[in-house]
């Protein structure tokens, strides 16, 4: 019955359809199962349809409101580099960014009307925020687990593997198992484990 003294503020950011809300919900359920107080902030409606989606998970007794504001996030879980950069100001100095390196062009870029920032530019723009960045090739690992739709669970595994959440891999696994049915359960569980493995054991 671990009670966290402090509030852990987590931001999940990505593109509509990547499973941002699903991860937020699963993470919160895992935290609740370990007797933590939780709040999840979601936005539905217009925000989907392939647009940018962000969701907040707050864990701990101090979590009352649903919003993680600029400079107050402990962890950002970014499903896509540009969408990670878009929310980078939410993280506090000394916070942690876990980012999927797989790029998904916004339409203006794929149509050739706008330019996607290079990896070096993204790194440069992130550096003033004083955060530790861990990059994960979650798309490749998700495909290895059996579906590109399992990117969110790879990212979940990575964040767990880095010890950034106030609950362990075992609790997470149990929630993932009960959240997905049939074939998808095996894929998502495998994705979670690949995510954990990706961040443990050196570079």
């Amino acid at each position: 019955m671990a009670r966290t003294g402090i509030t852990r503020n987590i931001v999940v950011t990505g593109v509509g359809g990547q499973g941002v809300l699903t991860l937020a919900q699963i993470m919160a359920q895992a935290a609740l199962n370990e007797s933590n107080n939780v709040r999840v902030g979601e936005i539905h409606g217009m925000a989907q349809r392939g647009g940018h989606v962000v969701s907040f998970v707050r864990i701990g007794d101090g979590a009352l409101g649903p919003i993680v504001d600029i400079g107050t996030g402990d962890v950002i879980i970014g499903f896509e580099p540009l969408e990670t950069l878009r929310e980078i100001s939410l993280v506090r100095p000394g916070g942690h960014v876990v980012m999927n390196t797989h790029v998904q062009y916004p339409v203006a870029v794929s149509m050739g009307h706008d330019r996607y920032p290079s990896e070096a530019e993204i790194d440069r723009l992130m550096s003033p925020f004083g955060v530790e960045v861990t990059k994960v090739d979650a798309m490749t690992l998700a495909q290895k687990a059996g579906s590109p739709r399992a990117v969110n669970m790879v990212m979940f595994g990575a964040v767990l593997g880095l010890g950034l959440l106030p609950f362990g891999v075992g609790t997470a696994r149990a929630v993932v198992r009960s959240a997905f049915g049939g074939r998808y359960e095996a894929i998502n569980s495998a994705a979670l484990d690949l995510g954990v493995a990706a961040v443990s054991g050196g570079s």
Partner: protein
């Protein structure tokens, strides 16, 4: 979404992680509500989505997706007049649609408890405006409660029914997006069982507000609202927490930000948290103002509580510094957060903030200039094909009144087929006004759900007054924008029963439209373009309204169907030997599944995103887009 099975379980004391919307659906079960009627609208949509899943498994319970909010409030209001507990749910603008019966309901009152849930949307995450529905409680003289979080939302629904029955008035439960869409632990309570039938007891001199009746009812209502104020003085929903010289008055989700801000700033403050915000507890507020020389009012949107405070301070000659929106200390637009409240408090009290907000805001500005990623019509969306055809047929020169739904996204380039929009149903009526005074071609578009919700009176008007308008009904067989609820054209009810659907073509003909044709937007685009041209020509020649129904299911429905059957069509691809890199497909059709291959300069299709509509095949002048094994 939490599964209906979990919301239905008889497990007192169990704690579930619920959205406030799901908690409200659960409260329906715990309060023994007999009937719920609503028209979907974000941020309230999951209430209906949960109830329609639960309804077939609940005893003596009836749920419907009504045609619109005015219909819903009348259906639910009558059930409560008959003597059972009922509920109506809508988003903020939905209460505008239901405003006429809403005001009468307060006059006639109810015999069974009635709760009207209205979900406002500060910051307009999914709304056409951020109107503050609290004014309706003042205008109608209807009691109002405002929860701060999901657990309180459930508890307040139960309290609202008791209050409603005590006062024989409907009660407004006003939420905001950050309550509706917050997920938090919610303890389950016992389930109550509604009665199967009640007998309608006639009492026309109460329930038919002819002037002679209404003249008695208005003073009676004012007496009831005075009784409600006495309830408000005593209810535990209004309470003071903490102590100190500094006073804060707040309600709804802002209460959380206030508590977090006080904690973060390590200040002492007394917080008057109002759960019942109409009528406000006037004596309690006056005492609070007497006891605190400085009082900050923290409420999103309009200065409703703030105005009450200023009124009461004047009335009771209290010397107090009331701070809020009037001095610009807190904004009147958009949602709040802890930072906004902390900044207001540091300003008022002159204390230091432990977080350097200026630096954080400065850093935030450094990453503002990024390529945007707005919401778009999905790959394979039938609306894209229809709008492409409308634009091509009219060369972009007609006026395009639009309406509310996914299809409003056609405002974006390259479709750019949304020129004017007021509210649901306004496509038809604004078309009438424009066609009458300009003489230009006018091609209005309306979704199928919106057509049934509020298109019919406008269409009757267009026919009878012979307005020369072209109307294209975008029938994607669902209410897509709000999460795929059924409507009268779909053949499914809120109770999950199959019924004969209303046919849009029959409805139009029945209303007297002489020109009614149907097109499949996924047939070769040139044919769709020809259909639109023919419609425009007919309207020019006949100076009367013409209707084209463009019918193909929402791509998300088709994709779900494919996933369940496991049958997928052959993929589409760009033949690299034929594509000359002209970019016509990208520039004119802009399907999110297509992209420019930066190395070759040719178009390409992402097989993971493509939804197999095949429309792009007809956009390419080279015939380079093909279907089949590569």
């Amino acid at each position: 979404m939490v599964k209906a099975k979990e919301l239905l379980q008889d497990a007192v004391g169990e704690t579930l992680l619920l959205l406030a919307n799901e908690a409200i659906a659960r409260a329906v079960l715990e309060a023994g509500v007999r009937l719920v009627a609503l028209y979907p609208g974000t941020p309230s949509s999951e209430i209906g989505n949960s109830l329609t899943q639960m309804a077939p498994h609940m005893e003596n319970f009836y749920f419907e997706f009504s045609a619109n909010e005015k219909v819903a409030i009348e259906v639910a209001g009558a059930a409560a007049v008959a003597g059972v507990r009922s509920m109506m749910v809508c988003k903020g603008p939905g209460l505008n649609v239901a405003a006429d019966p809403f005001l009468s309901l307060a006059y006639v009152g109810v015999r069974g408890g009635m709760v009207i849930v209205v979900a406002d949307d500060p910051s307009m995450w999914s709304s056409q405006n951020e109107n503050d529905s609290r004014y309706y409680a003042l205008m109608a003289n209807m009691p109002m409660l405002e929860p701060a979080d999901p657990a309180e939302a459930k508890a307040m629904v139960l309290a609202a029914y008791d209050l409603s029955e005590e006062l024989e008035l409907p009660v407004l439960l006003r939420t905001t997006t950050r309550v509706n869409h917050t997920r938090a632990p919610v303890p389950l309570g016992p389930i109550a069982r509604p009665p199967e039938h009640v007998v309608f007891k006639k009492e026309p001199l109460r329930f038919v507000p002819i002037p002679a009746v209404a003249r008695k009812q208005h003073p009676a209502l004012l007496r009831q609202i005075e009784r409600a104020r006495e309830v408000s003085e005593a209810t535990p929903l209004n309470f003071v927490t903490g102590e100190g010289e500094f006073g804060v008055v707040t309600s709804g989700v802002s209460y959380n930000y206030v508590r977090e801000a006080i904690e973060a700033l390590s200040i002492s403050a007394a917080v008057l948290k109002l759960g019942m915000t109409h009528p406000v507890p006037e004596d309690m507020i006056a005492r609070f103002l007497e006891a605190h020389p400085t009082v900050l009012v923290v409420e999103e949107l309009e200065p409703v509580l703030e105005t009450h405070l200023r009124r009461l301070a004047q009335l009771h000659s209290i010397d107090v510094r009331i701070v809020g929106k009037e001095q610009g200390v807190l904004p009147r637009t958009f949602e709040f957060n802890t930072r906004i409240v902390m900044r207001a408090m540091t300003g008022v009290l002159g204390v230091e903030s432990p977080i350097d907000w200026d630096a954080a805001e400065e850093r935030a500005r450094s990453v503002r200039d990024l390529p945007p990623r707005p919401p778009l019509l999905c790959p394979g969306c039938p609306h894209r094909a229809t709008y492409y055809a409308i634009r091509a047929a009219t060369r972009g020169k007609a006026i395009y009144p639009s309406d509310i739904g996914c299809y409003t996204l056609s405002i974006a380039p390259p479709l750019e087929t949304a020129d004017i929009l007021f509210d649901m149903g306004s496509s038809i009526t604004t078309a009438c006004g424009i066609a009458r005074v300009t003489g230009q071609d006018v091609v209005a578009t309306i979704g199928d759900s919106t057509f049934f919700a509020s298109g019919l009176p406008g269409l009757a008007n267009a026919v009878y007054n012979r307005h020369p308008i072209c109307l294209v009904v975008l029938d994607n067989r669902t209410t897509a924008m709000t999460g795929h609820q059924p409507h009268p054209g779909t053949g499914l009810t809120g109770m999950q029963e199959s019924v004969p659907p209303l046919r849009i073509e029959d409805v139009c003909r029945g209303l007297g439209v002489e020109y009614v044709r149907t097109v499949d937007p996924f047939q070769p685009l040139s044919e769709v373009v020809a259909e639109v041209r023919q419609l425009v020509q007919w309207v020019r020649d006949n100076r009367a309204p013409g209707v084209l129904v463009s019918r193909a299911p929402c791509a998300l429905l088709t994709a779900a169907e494919r996933r369940s059957t496991g049958v997928f069509p052959e993929p589409y691809y760009v033949d690299v030997d034929l594509c000359n890199g002209c970019r016509r497909c990208l520039n004119r059709f802009s399907c999110p599944a297509m992209y420019l291959n930066q190395e070759t300069g040719q178009a390409a299709i992402d097989p993971a995103l493509c939804n197999y509509c095949g429309s792009c095949v007809h956009v390419c002048p080279q015939g380079a887009i093909k279907q089949g094994g590569v």
